[in-house]
């Protein structure tokens, strides 16, 4: 009986070590920046006119995602996966360390009035914002992201190509990592938790 328990403990430690040391996981799911980069000043806002600025990045973890509401396939899939990843993260980290997901529409012309409802549909705590093109571009450039409007079809509708990755910003307002799809909830949560441990360690130094 005693031996069995010991073996069990050894197995748990082995699994923990595997997760902590697996470089493949980090490469597939997330890319950590060698040197964190400060997100410059920007101002966006939600439907009600509440602003979202660089100051709102302070003292909390933030996940920034770019998209557009008329995106029927990849954007809802990403938001759904992020919702699951955040739920998984909430199990592993302190409540005040659960990242704030911010959905940024790069298509303000069509989405200004519905961007917040869109994000909240996937999770009541998700923030949906947009703004002037120049302000969106500040965040696009700061996160090394991309978007492009495609030519309109006969009925006036158009597609917007955009980056698939999301950006992880630390409580110091610095871009620290990028996450790539498919945002597996368990792996994403694991990656975020490790980023937070690393951040706390570096802050203590």
């Amino acid at each position: 009986m005693m031996i069995k328990t010991k073996n069990m403990a050894a197995t748990i430690i082995a699994i923990a070590l595997y997760f902590l040391s697996s470089p493949a996981m980090a490469q597939v799911q997330g890319i950590e920046l060698d040197k964190p980069e400060l997100i410059p000043t920007f101002i966006l806002s939600d439907k009600a006119g509440n602003t979202f600025t660089d100051q709102d990045l302070k003292d909390q973890w933030t996940i920034l995602m770019f998209g557009f509401n008329s995106c029927p396939d990849v954007c809802p899939f990403t938001l759904g996966n992020l919702e699951a990843a955040i739920a998984e993260t909430a199990v592993r980290v302190r409540p005040d360390s659960v990242p704030q997901v911010v959905y940024i529409s790069v298509d303000p012309a069509r989405d200004r009035d519905v961007v917040s409802d869109y994000a909240k549909y996937f999770h009541p705590d998700f923030l949906g914002v947009t703004g002037e093109q120049a302000q969106i571009d500040v965040l696009i450039n700061a996160t090394d992201s991309f978007y492009r409007f495609m030519p309109a079809k006969a009925d006036g509708s158009y597609e917007v190509q955009h980056s698939a990755a999301v950006s992880v910003v630390g409580p110091d307002g610095m871009l620290r990592a990028k996450l790539q799809p498919p945002f597996d909830p368990g792996k994403t949560a694991e990656f975020l938790a490790r980023q937070q441990i690393k951040f706390r360690r570096s802050a203590l130094r």
């Binding site: 008329s70 995106c71 029927p72 990849v74 809802p76 899939f77 759904g80 996937f122 509708s157 955009h162």
Partner: protein, 139 residues
């Protein structure tokens, strides 16, 4: 008279239900209110010994429908029109988020969980198949 019969047969065959094609797990994720675009996913099986080609699609309650393929190239998400969707003989293809989907545009009305939408597939040989897709949560 022979000609009349031939015409009749042609008309008849153009309305033939595509019996060798089967569709399963057809669903449409619910979208936020006021969404103008939805996507339908499913598995399409071809039990025949001939490859089959989907050349068109339409959906009840939507002004437009197309088959699209999403892809991520150099980290950028884009979507392109699929003009012909091949279903090889004896095989099943699966439409999943982030890949091939039936894009449904401009809905007539809002949807609720459990609602169904009839999607019609047109094949290259003129046959058609109707599929009921159910509205539900993504996850």
């Amino acid at each position: 008279m022979k000609r009349v019969i031939a015409v009749c047969l042609t008309v008849y065959s153009s309305l033939t239900f595509a019996a060798d094609m089967s569709f399963s797990n057809a669903y449409i994720p619910l979208m936020p209110p006021a969404s103008m675009a939805y996507a339908a996913y499913m598995s399409i099986s071809n039990a025949s010994e001939q490859p089959r080609k989907v050349v068109g699609v339409s959906a009840e309650g939507f002004a437009m429908a197309d088959i699209h393929k999403s892809m991520i190239k150099d980290g950028v998400v884009s979507m392109e029109l699929v003009h012909e969707l091949n279903v090889p003989a004896g095989e099943t293809i699966t439409l999943v988020p982030g890949g091939i989907h039936v894009m449904l545009m401009k809905p007539d009305a809002a949807f609720m969980k459990g609602d169904t939408v009839t999607i019609q597939f047109m094949f290259a040989d003129g046959e058609v198949a109707k599929v009921e897709a159910t509205l539900g949560r993504l996850n």
